[in-house]
Amino acid sequence: MNDGATDILDEQLEKARCGERSALTLLVQRHQRSVYSLALRMLGTRDLAEDLTQEVFMQMSGNLRTIESNRHLGFWLRQVTTNRAIDQLRRRARVQMRPLEEEAHLFSAEENSDPLLQRHLQALLAELSPPARAVVLLRYQEDLDPVEIARTLEMPVNTVKSHLKRSLESMREKTSGARPARCEDNST
C-alpha cells in the first residue's frame, strides 16, 4: 500500500475513534474481505465465517481507542480472527470441509482457476491442525512473511517455517500424483 493510501486510512481511523460512522464504515469495508476469507477458510462454512466476522468487527468497534494505525488495525484483525477461529475449532468437533455446492466460494473464482488444485488445497486445509491452517492462510492469503506470522499467532518463527514446509510438501504430493505431465514443465 502506498503512503498516500496509508495516510488516508490512518485519518479515517482517527475519525472513527471520534465517532464518525462513515469513517468506521470505510474501515470495515476495507478489511472485511480479509477477515471474512480468513474466517471462512479456517472454519469451513459460510455461516460460521459470517458469525465470526461479525463478532470480530463488533469487537473492533469497541476497541478502536487501543488501535494506533491502520497497519496496526490490520494486524489486530488478523490476530483476533485467527485466534478466535483456532479457539472455536479446538472447542468444537472437527469441521469437515465438505465440498458442498455453496462452499465452492472458499476459493477465489479467477478465470484460470484450477478446480483440481482447489480441491487439493481444500483437502490440505482440512487435514491441517488449526494453528497450521492459520499459518498457511496468513502466508498465502495475507502474504505475511514468517516473522509477521509468528508475531500474529504468538508462535516461534521456526514452528511457522516448519508448518509452511510440511504444508508445501503435502501440497506437492497431492498435486504431483494427480496432474498429467505437461510439456512446458519438462522444457525448463
Binding site: 460460521l48 463488533m58 506437492r172
Partner: protein, 120 residues
C-alpha cells in the same frame, strides 16, 4: 515447481467477498452499536462558571455510566444471541453430517441389492 505451487496457492487464496446481504447486515449492526457522535468543536462557547461546570460534568458522567452499562448489556445480549445461533447451526450441521452417513449406508446397500438382483 515449488514457486509454481505457491503462486497458485496465492491465486486460489485471494480474499473473497462475503455476500452483499451479510455486508449490509454487518454495517447496520456496527452502526447501531456505535451511535454517531457529533465532532467536538474546539474553542467554541464561552467559559461557564466553575460550579456549573462541575455539576454538568457530574450529570454527564452519570448519563455516560448508564449509557455504557446499557451498551455493555446490549453487547452481552448480542454476543449471547450470536453464540446461541452458532450453536444451533453447529448442532444442525452435525445432525446433517450423521444423517448423511446413514444415507450413504442406505444408498450403498440398495445399490448392492440392485447389483445382486441384476446379476441373478
Amino acid at each position: 515447481m515449488s514457486k509454481d505451487i505457491e503462486s497458485q496457492m496465492r491465486a486460489a487464496l485471494r480474499p473473497v467477498a462475503p455476500r452483499e446481504e451479510f455486508s449490509q447486515k454487518l454495517l447496520t449492526g456496527i452502526a447501531l452499536e456505535r451511535p454517531e457522535l457529533k465532532p467536538r468543536r474546539l474553542g467554541a462557547g464561552r467559559r461557564q462558571p466553575l460550579a456549573w461546570w462541575l455539576t454538568a460534568s457530574l450529570a454527564a458522567s452519570l448519563v455516560l455510566a448508564v449509557g455504557v452499562h446499557q451498551r455493555l448489556q446490549q453487547q452481552r445480549a448480542q454476543q449471547s444471541g450470536l453464540e446461541a445461533r452458532r450453536e444451533v447451526m453447529e448442532a444442525l450441521r452435525m445432525t446433517s453430517q450423521k444423517l448423511n452417513l446413514a444415507y450413504e449406508a442406505v444408498k450403498s446397500q440398495s445399490t448392492s441389492l440392485t447389483d445382486e438382483h441384476s446379476g441373478a
